[in-house]
């Protein structure tokens, strides 16, 4: 009798464990679905290479699932973006070492130009005129972002593009909330100045409209 009860109890426990595994799989899958395309765009903007960006996002997803899927779901977003920022920095670091080695041996690495295919609109884009305007505006913003110091760029992308709050951004950037505020505020001012200096009407017209 005792044995039968114990077996029945084990069966229920296994069912519950199975259900909870399935639930957590669905939860993390939904989270990844929500962030994957945005993370890809951020990676492309930083590394300027579509395939490398896809690899980065895939690594981030694998790492998040393997290491942090057991954590509370509200921690996933900052953790995911922390992994993303680390992977981007890692790629940039390797690239910089590679280019130093190449230049030492007299090799030439191709310039990483703006890639129109990367910026080409997908099927869900808005109407054609809006698309062109939005693309031009985004291209200008991307170029300006590349001029910023890396930490300011990270802060801007996480706070503005991804909508992380200050505390989440601090976790993602592995720094204090005060640093996040400083980096973000400097990034906004610098970007605004850069876009104005380069005569990007789309951006400074908005500032003027807001001032009126």
């Amino acid at each position: 009798m005792g044995l039968a009860l114990s077996i029945a109890h084990d069966g229920i426990a296994k069912d519950l464990a199975g259900e909870s595994t399935l639930e957590s799989r669905h939860a993390i899958e939904a989270f990844l679905r929500e962030v994957e395309t945005r993370a890809f765009r951020i990676a492309v903007m930083n590394v300027r290479d579509r395939d490398e960006a896809l690899d980065i996002v895939q690594d981030c997803m694998i790492r998040l699932v393997r290491r942090y899927s057991g954590r509370p779901s509200e921690e996933w977003r900052p953790l995911f973006y922390r992994i993303l920022q680390n992977r981007i920095r890692d790629v940039q670091r390797r690239r910089s070492v590679r280019s130093r080695v190449l230049s030492f041996f007299g090799g030439v690495e191709s310039d990483e130009e703006y890639d129109p295919i990367v910026a080409a609109p997908g099927p869900e884009a808005d109407n054609p005129l809006d698309q062109v305007l939005a693309q031009d505006a985004m291209r200008a913003l991307e170029q300006a972002l590349l001029v910023l110091p890396p930490r300011q760029r990270e802060a801007f992308m996480l706070r503005n593009f991804e909508g992380l709050d200050v505390a989440q951004t601090a976790v993602a950037m592995n720094c204090t909330e005060g640093s996040v505020k400083t980096h973000y505020s400097r990034a906004v001012h610098r970007l605004r100045d850069l876009l104005r200096e380069h005569g990007e009407e789309h951006w400074y017209e908005q500032d003027e409209r807001a001032a009126d």
Partner: protein
């Protein structure tokens, strides 16, 4: 203040410039092509499949614990009894300044060590021989 109301406050405090930047980014996300989206879906599936793989790999690694301990003991013995060669001194001044910067940078260098485990595991993935044990844990 909860997260939703914090976000609402953030949005309300955004300048016109910040709002436009966010809209431009959102539009660029909507514009990502179907081929890329489908590669992202495949990557997501792969990541989710790997969740189960990690658990079974842990079981496999425990079965190798005794032989691992034996190997570690052999290495310690070798280190204790082998004659020590004179260490070669390399001054920091001999390294290129960029590399010094790289080494002393504030970035999370632990991530590089971390990656070595991760990449060797990843390299093993599709056609694998049993992967090597690593110290992957939550944290």
């Amino acid at each position: 203040m909860n997260k939703t109301s914090e976000r609402q406050t953030d949005a309300a405090q955004m300048s016109e410039f910040e709002r436009s930047a966010k809209q431009a980014f959102d539009a660029s996300v909507r514009g990502v092509d179907a081929a890329t989206r489908s590669r992202l879906v495949a990557a997501r599936e792969r990541a989710l499949e790997n969740a189960g793989g990690a658990r079974s790999r842990l079981g496999w690694s425990w079965s190798l614990a005794p032989s691992g301990a034996l190997a570690a003991a052999a290495i310690v013995a070798l280190l204790l009894f082998a004659p020590h060669p004179r260490p070669v001194e390399v001054g920091l001044q001999q390294l290129p300044s960029g590399d010094i910067e790289l080494l002393l940078g504030q970035e999370d260098l632990a991530m590089l060590d971390d990656d070595i485990d991760f990449y060797s595991w990843l390299q093993d993935q599709p056609d694998f021989a049993p992967p090597a044990a690593n110290g992957d844990g939550v944290g």
